[in-house]
C-alpha cells in the first residue's frame, strides 16, 4: 500500500501554508532539528554501540569486528561494511523480508561517507597481508521510524564506531568476552545532513508526515573541515542555485550536530 504514503495535494498545500509562516506542524522552525539524544554503549556484546533519537525517531547501531581474509584486490586493507535493517517493529509501513531499496540506499549512503572521507585507515586494520584483516561491520536497526532515518542512522553509526574497542585477539582467535582499550583508527567524522525541499522551502529533520510531502532531497556528507565527501539526491529535480543553498544549510547544520560527539 505504498501509494498511500504520499500526501495528497490538499494536505501538502496546507503544509506549505504553514511553512510560509515559518513554522512546521510540530511548531519547529524550518531549519530546527528535533531534540537529539545520543547514547553510547547500549549493547554490551557489540564492540561498539550507540542509540540516537531525533524526537520520536530512534535507531540503534552496533559494531562487530571479525578476523577475516582480505579481498584479493586489497590484500593490505581491512573491510568496512554498513548494513541497515528497517525492522517492521519500527513502523507500520515496514514489512518483514529482505532489505528493501530504502534501507539499501540508506546503508550505502552512510557507507559512502565513511569510505570516501577515508575516516578509517583501512591499512591499520590489516594484521597479516593477504591473510588476516579486521572486518568491521556496522549494523543499523530502526526502533521507531518517524522521519529522517538517514541522518539519525549515520549519527548512530559514527557514534558506535567511536565507541568501539577491539576485542582481544590471541592464538588466532577473537575473544569477544574481553575488549582491549584500543579504538578504531578513525580521525574524521563524515556527517551527513539531508536537506528536504517542500514547495519552495528547505527543511531539515522532517517527521514522517512531512517526508510524505517532500518533493526532493539532497544528502550532503561533510567532514569537520567542511570537505564534502558524499552526496545523494532523491526525488524531483534541483537547480544549481537550489543545490548551492542546500549545501550552505547542510554545512551549517553539520557543525551544529557535531556537538553531540
Amino acid at each position: 500500500m505504498n501509494n498511500n504514503s504520499k500526501m495528497n495535494n490538499d494536505s501538502k498545500n496546507h503544509l506549505i501554508k504553514s511553512l510560509e509562516k515559518g513554522i512546521r506542524f510540530d511548531g519547529r522552525k524550518l531549519t530546527d532539528y528535533r531534540k537529539v539524544v545520543v547514547e553510547t554503549g547500549v549493547s554490551k556484546n557489540a564492540e561498539g554501540s550507540a542509540r540516537v533519537k531525533f524526537g520520536d525517531t530512534e535507531v540503534v547501531a552496533g559494531v562487530k569486528m571479525m578476523m577475516e581474509k582480505p579481498y584479493p584486490d586489497t590484500p593490505e586493507q581491512g573491510v568496512i561494511m554498513v548494513n541497515a535493517e528497517f525492522l517492521p517493529m519500527a513502523s507500520p509501513e515496514f514489512e518483514s523480508g529482505p532489505p528493501g531499496i530504502d534501507s539499501i540506499e540508506l546503508s550505502r549512503v552512510v557507507d559512502r561517507g565513511i569510505r570516501e572521507s577515508k575516516a578509517i585507515d583501512l591499512k591499520k586494520l590489516c594484521l597479516k597481508k593477504g591473510e588476516k584483516v579486521w572486518m568491521v561491520s556496522i549494523d543499523i536497526c530502526t526502533i521507531n521510524a518517524d522521519g529522517n532515518l538517514l541522518d539519525a542512522s549515520a549519527l548512530a553509526a559514527l557514534a558506535a564506531l567511536q565507541n568501539a574497542r577491539f576485542p582481544e585477539y590471541v592464538d588466532d582467535e577473537v575473544n569477544y568476552k574481553k575488549h582491549t582499550d584500543e579504538k578504531l583508527p578513525m580521525d574524521k567524522l563524515p556527517l551527513p545532513v539531508t536537506i528536504h525541499k517542500i514547495g519552495n522551502f528547505f527543511i531539515v529533520d522532517p517527521s514522517r508526515e512531512e517526508e510524505h510531502g517532500v518533493e526532493a532531497r539532497l544528502t550532503i556528507t561533510s567532514t569537520e573541515k567542511g570537505i564534502i565527501c558524499a552526496l545523494q539526491k532523491g526525488g524531483a529535480t534541483l537547480t544549481n542555485d537550489e543545490v548551492a543553498q542546500m549545501l550552505e544549510l547542510a554545512l551549517e547544520k553539520s557543525t551544529e550536530l557535531r556537538k553531540y560527539f
Binding site: V42, S43, K44, N45, A46, S49, D56, E58, V60, G62, V63, K64, M66, N83, E85, L87, P88, M89, A90, S91, P92, S96, P98, P99, S137, D139, C141, I143, N144, A145, D146, Y176, K177
Partner: protein
Amino acid sequence: MSYTKRIDGRKFNETRPISAKTGVIKNADGSASFTIGNTTAYAAVYGPRNLYPKFLQNPSTGILRCNYNMMPFSGMGDRVRPGPSRRSKEISMVTQKALLPVLDLKDFPNAVVDVFIELVETDAGSRCAGICAASMALADAGVKMRDLVVAVSVGKVDDKVVVDLDYNEEAYKDGPVADIPLAIIPSTGEISLLQMDGEVTKEELIEALSEGQKIVAELYEVQKNALKERYSSKTVQE
C-alpha cells in the same frame, strides 16, 4: 565437583536484575521493553490489522503472528546474519504458542495481531525476555487477555537447581547443565512454554519447575508496575 556459589554471586533462586517499560515505540499500537541482566528485548504490537494474503484469514477469530529477531550485533560471539534463521523461526513459533492461550481475538475475525520482538543485547534467556516484553506490549495495545505471560528460564548447573541461567552458567564446563525456558500464566500456574536442552534427572526437573512457579509473582509484579506507570502517568504525551 559441586556448584556451591553462582558465578555472578546470585542466590540459586535469584534472577538477574530486571527492569521493564511500556510505550517505548511510539508508532506501535502497543510496546514494551524488558531487561534481565544483560539481555534486553523490545516488543512492538501492530494490530489488530488487515491480514493479507487472504488465505491466512480465519473467519472465526483474529490470529496472532510473532516474529523473534536478534539484532546482528546482539549476540555473544560473531555477528548474527540478518534475516530469519532456523533458530529464530522456531523461537517465533514457540513464542506465539506461549502467548496465544491468554489472548481472546474473537472480536477481530479475519484480522491479525503482529508481535515483533527484537533483541538489542543478549546474555541467555532471550526468548523468555521476548515473551515477557511481548505480553506487556499486547496488554499495552489493549488486546483482550485473561492474564499476562511471565517467562523465565530455570535449570541446573552441576548439582544445583537454579533460576535464570546466564551465558556463563549455560557454558559451565565442570558438570552437567540444563536450561529450561519456561512460560507461565500467573493466575492459574499453567505452563505455556516448556523447552529444555542439557541433561537433568526427573527429580531435578520437578524441582526446577517448582522453583519457576515460585518466581512468577516477582516477574508479574515488574510487568504490572511498568504497565501501571504508563497509564497513571499524568504528563504522558502520546
